[in-house]
């Protein structure tokens, strides 16, 4: 009966061994205890003893070749014995590499069949991660699933750090959309590049705006507004107002009044339903050193210009001092973003979830305009509305913009 000689485990950490030298040749006879080869392990060169007497029928590995643990290295038997089965088996496994894999498979199978894992004794069963095989399906803790659903994160984009790749709470918490497998390749960090820690604010901006841009279908409509009436009105108002009223305050007031007439713009998408908000709460995007915040002027439609100006001034100051309370940034139903003070003529903004739309306000331009066939000096401003097409269609957005245009071109109308 032929006996297989396999690569023995000669050290605790050994995974493979290199045959340093063969002390025997095919055809030699050996006794139990004979050293037939020397093997280099990760630690030292060790001797391989045989435990059976017989003739070396086959040597399968050349000197200098590496063999994983348990890999077939030689066959001992009686002279003339047919060992084709053993060799075939070894051959069909390709390299002996597979034989250790097979062993692993066997143990896994055993575990799956419950032989090892069904042990009511404390801990054993539990410690094996419930004996779950790695079958390719996405494993996530119930909590992680719920969190991912709430945050609109696709589990398939998240790498699990738990047993068997289970996605757990901390994986969702530390998930950044940009790290998703499908994301664009990141720039190589060379020594000249400077790395910045991603602040909590940047993380929030990254997550919320990615979610918005990737999940809500944005489209954009731009309208040009004659601001000469607002220009004059503001001058007059500031002569009597306690607080200096900015153009943006007037835009915010006009937006709030226009929203009353277009409740479909003042809505949010909730998956299976659309909520039309009764309150008009306009948020104002404020750029600060670390990023961007959007404090909210509650019930904007019910407030006069002076009050809007005062509140807006206070909120902007708080934002710049990082003093805003979370509740002062919650509950918006629409957002206004204004880059006019930087001379930006027009731009598009990303919708601030859960709003349906955001208004990007450009600079007021002094330029020649044609009025009644004559070129006259004019004051024009472009605004661009980004809308979520799930909620707002193009015509609705256009109607809202036209109302807004009318309000701003006839500011007295807002008083009505």
């Amino acid at each position: 009966m032929a006996v297989k000689v396999e690569m023995p485990k000669l050290s605790d950490t050994m995974e493979e061994g290199v045959i340093a030298a063969w002390n025997v040749e095919e055809g030699d006879t050996v006794e139990s205890g004979d050293v037939i080869a020397e093997v280099e392990t990760d630690k030292a060169t060790m001797e391989v003893e045989v435990f059976d007497a017989g003739t070396i029928l086959k040597i399968l590995v050349d000197e200098g070749d590496a063999v994983p643990l348990g890999g077939l290295i030689a066959v001992i038997g009686e002279e003339g014995e047919d060992i084709s089965d053993i060799l075939e088996e070894a051959g069909s496994e390709g390299s002996s590499d597979k034989s250790s894999e097979k062993k692993k498979e066997d143990t896994d199978k055993k575990a799956e069949e419950g032989e090892e894992s069904f042990d009511p004794v404390f801990g054993d069963l539990d410690k094996k991660g419930n004996g779950q095989p790695d079958d390719g399906r996405i494993k996530a803790s119930p909590l992680a699933r719920k969190m991912a659903e709430e945050q609109g994160i696709k589990l398939s984009n998240v790498e699990g750090s738990g047993p068997h790749g289970r996605i757990i709470k901390r994986d969702i918490e530390s998930y950044e959309p940009s790290k998703a497998p499908a994301a664009a390749p990141t720039a190589t960090v060379t020594q000249e590049d400077k790395e910045h820690r991603v602040s909590q604010m940047r993380k929030t901006i990254a997550r919320r705006l990615s979610e918005s841009k990737f999940s809500s279908p944005h489209y954009y409509e731009t309208i040009d507004i004659d601001m000469s009436a607002v220009w004059d009105a503001r001058k007059q108002l500031n002569e009597i107002s306690d607080t200096k009223i900015s153009f943006n305050d007037i835009v915010v007031k006009a937006v709030a009044t226009a929203l009353l007439k277009h409740p479909d713009i003042n809505s949010s998408w909730q998956g299976d339903k659309i909520i039309e908000h009764r309150n008009v709460n306009v948020a104002v995007a404020v750029g600060i050193e670390e990023g961007l915040v959007t404090p909210v002027i509650d019930n904007t439609d019910q407030k006069g210009l002076q009050q809007i100006a005062a509140e807006s001034k206070e909120l902007i100051e708080k934002a710049q001092n990082r003093d805003l309370q979370p509740e002062e940034m919650e509950g918006s139903t629409f957002t206004v973003s204004n880059l006019g003070m930087f001379g930006i003529e027009e731009f598009t903004a990303i919708i601030n979830p859960p709003n349906a739309c955001i208004l990007a306000v450009g600079a007021i331009r002094e330029e020649p305009v044609v009025e009644d066939g004559e070129v006259v000096p004019g004051k024009r401003m472009k605004v661009t509305l980004s809308s979520d097409h799930r909620i707002v269609d193009g015509v609705s957005a256009a109607q809202f913009l036209n109302t807004l245009k009318q309000m701003l071109e006839n500011p007295l109308g807002m008083v009505l």
Binding site: P120, V121, F122, G123, D126, K146, P163
Partner: protein, 327 residues
Amino acid sequence: MAELQFREAIRAAIDEEMSQDEDIFVMGEEVAEYDGAYKVTEGLLDKHGPKRMIDTPISELGFAGIGVGAAMNGLRPIVEFMTFNFAVLAADQIINHASKARYMTGGQVEIPIVFRGPNASAGQLSATHSVSYDAMYAHFPGLKVIYTSEPADAKGLLKSAIRDDNPVLFMESEQMYGLKGEVPDEDDFTIPIGKAKVKREGSDVTVIAHGKMYHVATQAAEKLAKEDVDVEIVDPRTVKPLDIETIVKSIRKTNRCVIVDEAHPFGGLAAEVGYLIQREAFDYLDAPVQRVTLPDTNAPFAKNLFDEWLPSPDQVIDAINTVTYRK
């Protein structure tokens, strides 16, 4: 507040209740003349007399039966077992009679009886003296089961047990009788049966532990606090009716749970609590619930084996590390 030993807290509860209600009497092996095998009833014979402090023969089935009969006839017996390991002999009276008489008489008969005594292991007492019986009795409808960890809980809950009109099994531990703790001394101090208590607040993991195991959990929590792991400990105090609400509330906060139980694993309290948690808090779990229990084998006598057998702080730490994915 007074600092009392566990045995003194139990004694105070019995004494106060006996002083208020003449129908209450104590019966058991060596409860009177010898002042109790563990000195729980010390001095009560002198104070309440031999009619109300009754030494019985070594016959658990007999005196448990007398207790059930007395309760059916309007008295309020407190039956002491020298340990619940011996109460197995009285199981017929507890399981077949005390738990069922009210049900089988359509509510005509009340069984206001307390069976009390030490439960589970207490060092090298070998296989037949080391069994935890709380979950076994909790299996039977009609029985309430209490197994407390601290003197104040013991006093407050024993008083509630004595006042309860149903059979209550009140469990203690030889190893905790000397344990000291602050105990309210007002006569009307009671703790309602069926209310768990969050005894240590934490955010990373909920450890559920009662009886002697509460102290094992506390040691584990203290060690882990040094590694910044914030352990919350919930002591159910009453095994049945179980306060699953408090447990679930805690898990909703921590998202992870380890149950420590001094009984064997199969069909034990840890199994039941684990089931309830997955039903009530499934969406809040970040890891499968782990339990630390005795192994599925009898208590060894040899000290080295016994120490391996009994749940230890290290075993609890291992389980916490598993559910928090630390190791």
